[in-house]
């Protein structure tokens, strides 16, 4: 799998670190409700299809960015 880094261009997957689902909204600062935090930290949509996610070009420019990828095919449809 080749991943398009917004700064370095297309590079091999092995240069990157995966950072999880980027569509998750972090609960507001000061949220006291434990269930809200539980759902945010521990539950995953885990779709079989389009997914927006974080990646870091850890062996390159070290930039974090969002990517759109189809988890059923690994096809990347670009930056999110």
């Amino acid at each position: 799998m080749k991943i398009p880094c917004p700064y370095c261009g297309e590079r091999d997957w092995s240069e990157f670190r995966y950072g999880g689902d980027a569509s998750k909204q972090r609960p507001a600062h000061g949220t006291g409700d434990l269930d809200t935090w539980h759902d945010h930290v521990f539950l995953f949509e885990n779709p079989k299809g389009p997914h927006t996610e974080y990646w870091q070009h850890v062996l390159g420019c070290r930039q974090w960015f969002k990517l759109k990828r189809n988890t059923a095919t690994n096809q990347i449809s670009g930056k999110a």
């Binding site: 092995s14 930290v41 885990n46 079989k48």
Partner: protein
């Protein structure tokens, strides 16, 4: 349906070669309703059906498999069994599984080729030796076999490893579990399927579940590619696709699906007589009865449902094997494949009830599903039949993260892709 297998039935068929063996399990048409429906005809689903029928007398049971028996992860794993766990409920659960493996071939009247060849985990630093001593002590306190080996003992046992002075990861010692080993994985699926079928369980292949039917807060059946099937109880055992199937009932799980690769080399003469794991990187190997070296490594590290892996991971695994056993460098790989598994935030599974009444979940196996098959089926059957957890799977509940009951065997935090 096949009657009991024995030396006499073998001799009888050898003398009458034109008489085919009867099918190992029946292929019935689905009935309109069952007492219990198990979604997923993998090792865990079939074992669950068998123990439901045998231990709980629940025989009006259907196992729905979207493809054919043995097509999923039960036929895609590296066949390793072990019980060297040290955190809370894991220790007792996996040891119970090991005990069930020990008698499985007799129990099922099917040769599962359980081989207690032992597992040796190599320590590559003095710190790791201390860590293994701690693990071994915990195992022994729980009645599990474990012994600590020093460098000399490892050299005697595994003379083919790299012990040279300039080896990048010098071997300091190892922890050895003699009862660990390997099992013929397909035989586990076939054996449970045949035994369950013999007790009256319907095994329905090529029947994909497309929806889970609910009446209020209670589950009432499933919609499938072969029509609607009603069930008093519905159990999910589809590891790899747990999120996908649970979503049909409106459940969101603490699970992400990842791909794990496995590799088999061309066959060579017997040399590796144990399961050998390495402390420097998540890597292990064994030698199959056909002679191929079977390698396993870590997951690729990002969620995917594609049953194929990335090349860089293959490279890492090959670097491991050639570093540990330099003579393998000219070996060729024969086969290579990927399997999809549920990764959970603490690396431990779920065998539990769900917030929906009479809907049960068995999943989140990370990469330890195969070795757990008998205990998983045994305790899941108990959970389904009694509508409450068995004492061995009480710790594998869906709400353990809410209650601070994580079973974080690897101690890496809540990252599914680092377990």
């Amino acid at each position: 349906m096949a009657k009991g297998y024995s030396i006499f039935s073998l001799a009888r068929h050898a003398l009458r070669p034109n008489e085919p063996w009867p099918e190992a399990w029946a292929k019935p048409e689905p009935k309109p309703s069952y007492d219990a429906i198990i979604i997923g005809g993998g090792g865990h689903g079939l074992a669950t059906a068998y123990y439901l029928a045998k231990n709980h007398g629940l025989r009006n049971v259907a196992v729905l498999e979207k493809s054919y028996i043995g097509s999923g992860n039960v036929g895609r794993n590296t066949t390793l069994i072990r019980s060297n766990y040290m955190i809370g409920g894991n220790t007792a659960f996996f040891e119970f599984s090991m005990k069930l493996w020990e008698g499985l071939s007799h129990e099922l009247n099917f040769n599962a080729m359980v081989s207690h060849r032992g597992q040796v985990v190599l320590a590559v630093s003095p710190v790791q030796v201390d860590q293994f001593a701690r693990r071994g002590n915990i195992m022994r306190l729980n009645g599990i076999d474990a012994e600590l080996l020093d460098r000399g003992e490892v050299m005697k046992m595994l003379p083919y490893l790299d012990y040279s002075k300039d080896s990048r990861w010098p071997i300091w010692g190892a922890i050895h579990q003699p009862r660990a080993g390997t099992v013929r994985h397909d035989a586990v699926a076939w054996g449970y399927a045949r035994a369950a079928s013999g007790l009256g369980v319907h095994i329905i292949e090529n029947c994909e579940v497309t929806d889970i039917l609910r009446d209020g807060d209670r589950v009432v059946g499933v919609e499938t590619s072969r029509g609607k099937i009603l069930g008093d109880k519905v159990a999910i055992a589809v590891a790899g696709h747990s999120s996908h199937v649970a979503a049909m009932a409106g459940l969101k799980l603490p699970v992400e699906s990842h791909v794990l690769q496995a590799f088999v080399s061309e066959p060579i003469k017997p040399i590796v007589h144990h399961v050998v794991s390495w402390g420097a990187e998540l890597f292990y190997l064994s030698q199959s009865d056909k002679g191929g070296l079977v390698f396993g490594g870590h997951i690729d590290g990002f969620n995917t449902y594609t049953q194929r892996g990335q090349f860089a991971r293959m490279q890492t695994v090959m670097e491991c094997v050639s570093s540990l056993m330099p003579f393998t460098q000219r070996l060729k790989l024969l086969r290579h494949w990927g399997g999809i598994q549920d990764m959970t935030p603490d690396g431990s599974p779920f065998i539990c009830r769900t917030p929906i009444r009479h809907l049960y979940l068995n999943g989140g196996w990370c990469y330890q599903g195969f070795k757990a098959t008998p205990a998983s089926g045994y305790t899941f059957a108990h959970t389904i039949a009694q509508d409450q957890e068995h004492e061995l799977n009480r710790c594998f509940s869906l709400d353990r993260f809410r209650k601070g009951g994580e079973l974080d065997e690897h101690g890496v935090g809540n990252w599914t892709y680092k377990q």
